[in-house]
Point group: C2
Chain length 364, copies 2
Amino acid sequence: MSEVITAVYEVSAEDPAGRAAQVAVEQSHELPTELAPGNAVRDSLGHIRSVLRRPGLAALATVDYPVDLAGAELGQLLVLLLGNVSLQDGVRLVDVTLPARLAAALPGPRLGIAGVRALVGEPEGALLATALKPVGMTPQQFAGLAYDIAAGGLHILKEDQGLANQTWAPFAERVPRVAEAVRQANEDTGGRSVYLPCVNGSAAGFSEQVRLARREGAHGVMVLPGVAGFGTLAHAAEVFDGGMVLAHPSFLGGFTASPSHGIAPDVLFGTLLRLAGADATIFPGFGGRFSLSREQCLAIAEAARRPLHGIAPTLPAPGGGMSVDRAPELLDAYGPDTVFLIGADLQRGGNPRRAAERLAAATR
Amino acid sequence: MSEVITAVYEVSAEDPAGRAAQVAVEQSHELPTELAPGNAVRDSLGHIRSVLRRPGLAALATVDYPVDLAGAELGQLLVLLLGNVSLQDGVRLVDVTLPARLAAALPGPRLGIAGVRALVGEPEGALLATALKPVGMTPQQFAGLAYDIAAGGLHILKEDQGLANQTWAPFAERVPRVAEAVRQANEDTGGRSVYLPCVNGSAAGFSEQVRLARREGAHGVMVLPGVAGFGTLAHAAEVFDGGMVLAHPSFLGGFTASPSHGIAPDVLFGTLLRLAGADATIFPGFGGRFSLSREQCLAIAEAARRPLHGIAPTLPAPGGGMSVDRAPELLDAYGPDTVFLIGADLQRGGNPRRAAERLAAATR
């Protein structure tokens, strides 16, 4: 084989070498090799490079797949890395290495860190974001909240993943109202806050919602690859053309909840969503109400930002647990090339504008 | 609340009532209730209906969500049922009940069992299917294999989920060749076999591939909702208009691998993919190389076919482990309203046509 995609799996099995060999075949041919024609065996079969037993830990199996198996498509790369094997326990994808040619064919972020910084006018400090919620509020209520938070100086106002096209604030009414409120706040304070509506419409309605968001003055969109598909990140970036694309992890937790199965969080929320085109990637931050460790969270940030065949870096966006009190600790841990998501704390105390100002000051 | 979506969760926690209350808020407002405006608390908050402790088992928590939270959209229903909570361990979605109004707004299968039977000309017997594979074969090789299998009388020839647009057999070359081979076999034998290419292109290219498949004489498509998004089932059905839509579980296994997390297989592969529009739903059958139990598999079949607000039933399609030897056992277990997927066994022995004929005879 000339060029390969290399996947590393943690394999929990009595016979890790045998199990790894099954994975290499399952994920490529899905057919016993003696039944495959010679040209397919030569061209398109996965091969074990090594299996490392580690006492007390899962074995590490490294599998090389011919690069052409991915067909230069992100969706097929995902199928290749863990499609069928996701249905079996005891195999966890923990690392992926791609040849430059494949990396160049995948979407990657259009804006990346530099592009988002240019959009929000913040050349080097930490970036602050919040979610507009709860669902059930009226467009007027969302607009009022958005005005206060934008005026308070938060960089990014994204909508909650629970906001879609519900009767209380239909997408086509809500988005123009909130975009106008953010524009007004920016005008009143000289700020550059951006507004990202949540787009989670049906496959047919997705493009239409992205176009509406762009036309009405939003600055990008938030999408939910676990529900709407991994291709929606690049699709939204293309349709919005210049807008920021933020990935939300809703419905993706199945992959990361078990230590012996699925995908390591840094591979899923870092590498794969970056390849898929996320300018920023939300994940459950340590110390909040979700369950990733500090080490896992920092690995996500590293995967999102490390050099990768010239692909633009993605902003890690840890969610949950940010507050004025924790700002120094979190800034120190993640560094400034990070979107810090602040949730309920901003609305506690009844003065979101003042809370946003205090937080912005604490992270400067 | 008038109309509600009722979700039942298995909750593994020391304080299941407290944990369930967190779920109800996380999945609706995602904001402490004391911070939400009165109209949102009144209209759009999830409520615990009951929490049942079960000695030695996870507690059962029943949560009512106001129906309008789903916004009459399948994607938002998924976000509501398990979006954020999928990122937390110890909560498993095990049942969903929808009001008729919401069910009527969701896609559901266009063909359903009756429509697929009409398409393949098989009014009541078991339906047999196989996967065209391995990836790496040429269009000619796929066409030859497809001819043999269609001539042998298998009802449904779907492509392997590993087939996309790879160099060895690009989509636009492969699909017309295979469709023609199946047409020829049908003409030669008087059969009615159908061919379903795998469509897993990017969001932008998806519709184009479905249209190409229709134009070139395929009879529907297979889609991968775990990769391409849950909306692609209905979207494919709409674009193909009259074609069969088959759901493949690739990349969905994260939800079903852990007993204390995710989604019960009958809810995911049965109820939710049926609501999303699958005419048939592939899942890992018991006794094969995947890990669902017999009981879980039969629950999937039941969820796919049971009466559900007038929504057409979906064909369960257990994959893996079917053979001439197992045919009586599996037919007895699942009943005839089932698509039995036969994999490698069909190609073993070097005469797929003869193997298909024997299998068709064994299931008559």
